[in-house]
Symmetry: C2
Subunit: 201 residues, 2 copies
């Protein structure tokens, strides 16, 4: 059976990263897509582990070749999800998780509508506000920008199959595990692999 | 949040009954619909527990009033799922399981397309054949009839959201539990209760 492409996204501050790290520990058999970027590696970051570090020319060449499932330019640096490792994992039956922002998720949806799109959200807007302000690392203007951006991201809700409210990380992770099990039982997926014909043999 | 209506069905011999008994033990908080019937109680059967025992006149009256979610006549006796207890459970947020045959499931689908329709199947046709013959209680002609009927039931596959292959009961039950958790995260269900508006308050 083809693996599941799990797209885990949601507004910034929802805790996608924490959830994905916990999932990774609980489900080491699941693959995690590694992004490519043109930004230089930070101390301790290894090529092919944290990111695939590419120069701008190579990135743009790959972009032209359609080698990215999704990509974006952030503060002048390019980021993207290489298509090939994802497709190879799915073909050999491995589930693979893409932790990406809502713009990236919208791009992936165009290529892989059969992916499982999970929207991670904080329990409420006021909780999110508290989390973002609580970091204490940003100026009031930056906080305001970020919260305005969150509103735009939240408006993407309809693109997603599932909403997982990140109140307790453990609980959110258990829900994603349940979603993976349930999706593998979906009639449309079993029909796609011809299960309804295999049954009679 | 409105409860989930879980319709558990599948061809005869798939093991629906065994799975539902195991589910009942694991999830005592879930409601189980009790059918009404015109057939007389067998020794040990209690009214309102095994079945609601009704006389034919009362059953037909209720049928006329639209009081059944689904019904059928089997060997001259009437069987049906009373609508009211199901609707009351769902309204108070309780999930409720209907264990019914494929014809009943098709009727329920018309009223409750938002129900969760789970098709329980044996691992293969040859395994099902073995199970039915292994009972040793039926004549070759009855077995032939039953297997022909199974083919008709299997053709109902597309009506169902999920297929759970009953190889190991424990595993099948765990899959149904995962389906329940996942369905409660579905975007369309959260939108129905206005979650996307509550988020901002």
């Amino acid at each position: 059976m083809q693996g599941l492409l799990l797209v885990i996204s949601g507004p910034s501050g929802a805790g996608k990263g924490t959830i994905c790290r916990a999932l990774r520990e609980k489900m080491p058999e699941v693959g995690y897509s590694i992004s490519a970027t043109t930004r230089p590696p930070r101390p301790g970051e290894k090529d092919g582990e944290s990111y695939f570090f590419l120069d701008r020319e190579r990135f743009l060449q790959m972009l032209k070749e359609g080698a990215f499932l999704e990509w974006a330019e952030v503060y002048g640096e390019l980021y993207g999800t290489p298509r090939k490792p994802v497709e190879e994992a799915l073909a050999r039956g491995q589930d693979i998780i893409l932790e990406i922002d809502t713009q990236g998720a919208a791009q992936v949806k165009r290529y892989y509508p059969e992916g499982v799109f999970i929207f991670i959200v904080p329990p409420s807007y006021s909780e999110l506000e508290k989390r973002i302000k609580g970091r204490g690392t940003e100026s009031p203007a930056a906080i305001k920008d970020r919260l305005a951006w969150v509103k735009k991201e939240m408006a993407q809700l309809d693109l997603y199959d599932y909403v997982v409210i990140n109140d307790q990380v453990e609980e959110a992770v258990a829900k994603i595990q349940a979603i993976i099990i349930a999706e593998k039982c979906r009639t449309k997926r079993l029909k796609k692999i011809g299960w309804h014909q295999l049954f009679w043999s």
